[in-house]
């Protein structure tokens, strides 16, 4: 009798383990398929010229250099927007705000809601506010502001996590020496949490680089004759370039392979960025001993 129960328990356990294991395998297979299809269709068109020249003949030939540059500018701009704001508000939430006050709870909820807003809504918001009301036009500036605001919840959350990982005992040691709160944050908390902050930042960069909807109405154009000269110029961008090649073209036979090639570049960029983040995190884990 007892043995029967025991056997049954093992059986149940094994069934569940198998389900977990199969889910894992399924995900790995999906990931592998994505990479396989994109790479196998796109890798053919990638060569030095594709990476360094401008599109030609109604985007049926040539390269994607302006789109790479545009994505670079947009990502850089979104960092300039989201990093200071994100770090400052995370410091406020973790170091200054007392977690039980209603206004602080409301702020946190607001940030979570911001994270849940669909990216195309951010695009419309950017169009209405930055492009129209502020009059920045369709430009790198408008796109960076929109992307930056979209990245804010991710940046705030990851900076919060990095700050929380700094032990209380560091703060106490500093305060007990007669440091005030700001000195403690500046000289002890921020230096200790820097690797964590960088990791979070880089991950959010990877996300911003791949977003299409927020820049669709605010920054991106299908084709620009020259590289952007200032932040008030529009720019081409990798994800939007893919979208353009797939929807606006008249020669799908030539444009679809170019779209896959662009996708390969985008995927490799994002993966490279993520690897930098993983490297940084690993490095900080090795050096930190608390």
């Amino acid at each position: 009798m007892k043995e029967g129960i025991l056997k049954r328990r093992y059986l149940v356990q094994n069934i569940w383990f198998t389900i977990f294991w199969l889910s894992m395998i399924l995900i790995a297979v999906i990931l592998g398929l994505i990479l396989y299809f994109i790479l196998s269709r796109g890798i053919k068109v990638i060569n030095w010229e594709f990476l360094t020249s401008v599109p030609r003949r109604g985007m049926t030939e040539g390269g994607i250099f302006p789109a790479i540059v545009g994505t670079f500018y947009l990502v850089l701009g979104s960092i300039v927007v989201s990093l200071p704001l994100g770090i400052f508000s995370a410091i406020y939430l973790i170091e200054y705000a007392s977690p039980n006050r209603p206004v602080v709870k409301a702020l946190r909820t607001a940030i979570h809601c911001l994270a849940g807003v669909p990216s195309v809504v951010f695009g419309l918001f950017g169009l209405a506010v930055f492009v129209k009301i502020f009059g920045f036009g369709v430009s790198i500036l408008s796109g960076s502001l929109t992307l930056g605001i979209m990245s804010l919840p991710v940046v705030i959350t990851s900076v919060e996590e990095a700050l929380k990982a700094v032990p209380l005992s560091f703060r106490e040691a500093s305060l007990a020496l007669g440091a005030n709160k700001w000195t403690t944050i500046w000289r002890v908390v921020l230096p200790s949490s820097l690797p964590g902050i960088l990791t979070g930042l880089i991950l959010s960069v990877g996300r911003a680089a791949g977003e299409t909807a927020p820049i669709m109405f605010t920054a991106a154009v299908f084709y620009a004759r020259r590289l952007p000269q200032s932040i008030f110029d529009p720019a081409m961008a990798l994800p939007y370039h893919i979208y353009g090649l797939m929807t606006e073209g008249t020669r799908p036979d030539k444009q679809v392979p170019l779209a896959y090639g662009t996708a390969v570049v985008l995927i490799l960029l994002v993966i490279a960025v993520d690897f930098i983040a993983i490297y940084l995190r690993g490095k900080s884990r090795r050096t930190r001993k608390w």
Binding site: A173, S174, A176
Partner: protein, 252 residues
Amino acid sequence: MEEIKLQIKDLNVFFGEKQVLHQISLNIPANKVTAIIGPSGCGKSTLLRSINRMNDFFEGVKVEGEIIFDGNNIYAEDVDPVVIRRRIGMVFQMPNPFPKSIFENVAYGLRIQGWRSRKAIEEQVIKSLQAAALWDEVKDRLHSSAFDLSGGQQQRLCIARAIAVEPEILLMDEPASALDPIATARVEELIRSLIEKYTIVLVTHNMQEAARASDYTAFLLLGRLIEFGPTNQIFTKPQKKETEDYLTGRFG
């Protein structure tokens, strides 16, 4: 009677609704080691952290009564706790060096006071490391990480860091409880050598440590001060039954 460095008068401390310290009155003599002993949860650490206003950081804490330091109540409204903490240093239970070099750990307090001169900082760091009996062990690796030191060395580094800013009182919250016996002996020896310049308040749950290292002992039980007097008197002729029961191990 000796010079009194710090006077605690009718101190009540509340965490929210809960009263943790009841009517504590205690005079801390200058240039002596005063030990605060008692079982876990009796309020030793709370009392210690009241003296440099480290309890201020806990939410919902309320303090009644006075602590007179240098003629002024440190809980008076116009007192800046940052100034108090600069003059009353603290060493914690777990060694908590910063993730910086040995040198920068000791220099930290000086830098935040606005010391600029490299030479002056260096001299003070060396002096503090010597006073903390750590100099000989670290003089060749001042710029390596403080985390490379052993636990006992880290604790002496924390003491060096605390005395670098030349506080008048040094509060120690079970400084040897996380250390092995040899490291403990070194820290206790160090504590004795520091009283020439500093007044020390030492919280410990280790009665032998109080007996070895302190001149005066205060016995706390359930947030009340049961007995206070010279250490040898407390340990040989306690006046109160609770003190005797605790010292003889009838409860702990």
